[in-house]
């Protein structure tokens, strides 16, 4: 009995093929700067490119794997997970603008809520506590250089 093709396998195969193609393209760009056909920056790129395309086709379209149980969570949880990912990126932007300390404070605040469903007040408390600890350990004691944020730099603070 052959298993059906899982979406995951198709994606993996697709990724392989695309990456392989990009690798071949970049390799072709670098071919002129070789020392010799088998010695240059293109060698690895051509090798990987070819292998990735071949394997991509095999994994995505040829081989059949036993059905894999992809754990499906309910809509709400899926949404929460994707939201968390967006939160992480929002953190990066906030940190860029307002600096690490504020960014971390907000990140923790939101995450405590998402993960633990604590009341807003508890979240605030926890996040202030942890951020303060981090600040003390890493910024005050050890002086890890964190940027203070674009906004503050522009304001000359």
């Amino acid at each position: 009995m052959k298993g059906h093709k899982a979406l995951g396998d198709r994606i993996a195969g697709g990724v392989g093929i695309v990456c392989g193609a990009v690798s071949l393209w970049q390799g072709a760009d670098l071919y002129p700067y070789r020392q010799s056909p088998l010695m240059g920056d293109h060698v690895m790129l051509f090798f990987l490119g070819a292998m990735l395309i071949v394997l991509g086709i095999l994994v995505g379209f040829v081989f059949h794997y036993p059905p894999v149980k992809v754990s499906q969570a309910d809509r709400k949880t899926k949404f929460t997970v994707n939201l968390t990912f967006l939160i992480l990126f929002a953190f990066l932007i906030v940190t860029w603008l307002l600096g690490y300390v504020i960014g971390n404070l907000l990140l923790l605040f939101v995450l405590f809520r998402v993960y633990g469903s604590y009341s807003w007040i508890k979240c605030g408390l926890f996040s202030v506590l942890v951020t303060a600890l981090i600040y003390f350990l890493f910024i005050y004691l050890v002086k890890t250089p964190f940027s203070s944020g674009l906004v503050f730099e522009l304001l000359g603070m």
């Binding site: 700067y33 020392q35 010695m39 250089p145």
Partner: protein
């Protein structure tokens, strides 16, 4: 009417005073009392590397001299060239931020790239702080005992030379290329052995996997002392710390000029006064015996040079190596 005029006058006077006050704070701090706040030295190399050690030692001395904090920042999330690019785009030409570059950043980058990230005109050249003569090292039991013998062999056997460098456009490659070109050999036939540093090169040469390494002496010294390697010459000039090793010139090969160096630069447009303050301070530090000794111990030979002469030298080098890169097809 009078009251309103009076108020309006007072307001506008206050405003303009404030504005000019804001404006002039930076101006006055430029000339009269430079430096009066923290100075930053940006280093595009990681902690512990030669430029970094140099920067930190200078930072110590400068803050002592000037009485202001001098901070060293390592910018390593990218290559050293992109660190300089970022430096140029964020630093003000007010003398409060400087950077240290090596020959690769300040010379070879422009020589090798048809579209470099920055150009010689983007900089105010402050001074050179150190110069590293390169050692030409081969395996201890290799058949050549002088640089002359090695050179002859290279000319007679094109395609047999296995040289070490971080890449075909690295400092060691340029040094080797200049040498082979000068003696009339064929550099295009030479084969590259990529390395990750001078100690890696030492391993390759000692293991018989490469013919020669032209590079910094500190990486090969341990192996030389262990009897695995021998140094033929120092180029482009003999190193006063190792008087036993002849210079390339003495060994019969003249015309070699390539050597690594560190230079201090600022964004272009820094005022004459501030530039002179910097040069004065650095000149003093670099002629201090204790400083020279301290730097020697960590492998940084202090050789100070500044002024229009030095700047011209750098610009000439850029042109020379552009040409060399062109000839060798290394220019992209």
């Amino acid at each position: 009417m009078k009251k309103i005029t009076a108020i309006a006058l007072t307001l506008s006077l206050t405003l303009s005073a404030l504005l000019t006050g804001c404006g002039s704070t930076s101006d006055s701090s430029d000339q009269a009392s430079f430096p009066d706040r923290q100075v930053e030295i940006v280093v595009g190399y990681s902690a512990g590397s030669s430029p970094d050690l140099l920067a930190r030692a200078l930072a110590d001395r400068l803050s002592e001299k000037w009485g202001v904090p001098v901070m060293v920042t390592n910018k390593t999330d990218g290559s050293s060239a992109t660190a300089i690019k970022e430096f140029l785009s964020t630093a003000e030409p007010d003398g409060y931020t400087i950077t240290i570059g090596t020959i690769a950043d300040l010379c070879l980058h422009m020589a090798v790239n048809k579209q470099p990230l920055y150009d010689a005109s983007d900089f105010t050249y402050v001074c050179q702080t150190s110069q590293y003569p390169m050692s030409v090292t081969v395996k201890a039991d290799a058949p050549w005992n002088t640089f002359g013998e090695l050179s002859d062999w290279v000319v007679k056997n094109p395609g047999e030379l296995l040289y070490c460098s971080s890449s075909m456009t690295g400092a060691s490659a340029f040094a080797t290329a200049e040498w082979v070109n000068t003696i009339g050999g064929d550099f295009n036939a030479a084969r590259l052995v990529p390395i990750t540093g001078s100690s890696d090169a030492a391993v390759k040469v000692a293991g018989g996997n490469a013919t020669v390494i032209i590079g910094s002496i500190t990486g090969v010294l341990p192996m030389v002392e262990a009897g695995e390697l021998k140094i033929l010459v120092m180029t482009p000039y003999a190193d006063p710390n190792y008087p036993d090793i002849p210079s390339a010139e003495e060994s019969g090969v003249s015309g070699l000029t390539f050597g690594n160096w560190n230079g201090i630069v600022m964004p272009s447009g820094v005022s004459e006064d501030i530039l002179n303050t910097w040069r004065e301070a650095l000149g003093e530090i670099c002629s201090d015996e204790a400083f020279i000794d301290q730097m020697q111990k960590v492998g940084v030979p202090v050789v100070y040079a500044d002024g229009a002469d030095w700047e011209q030298q750098v610009l000439n080098s850029i042109e020379d190596y552009k040409q060399l890169a062109e000839e060798l097809g290394l220019r992209k």
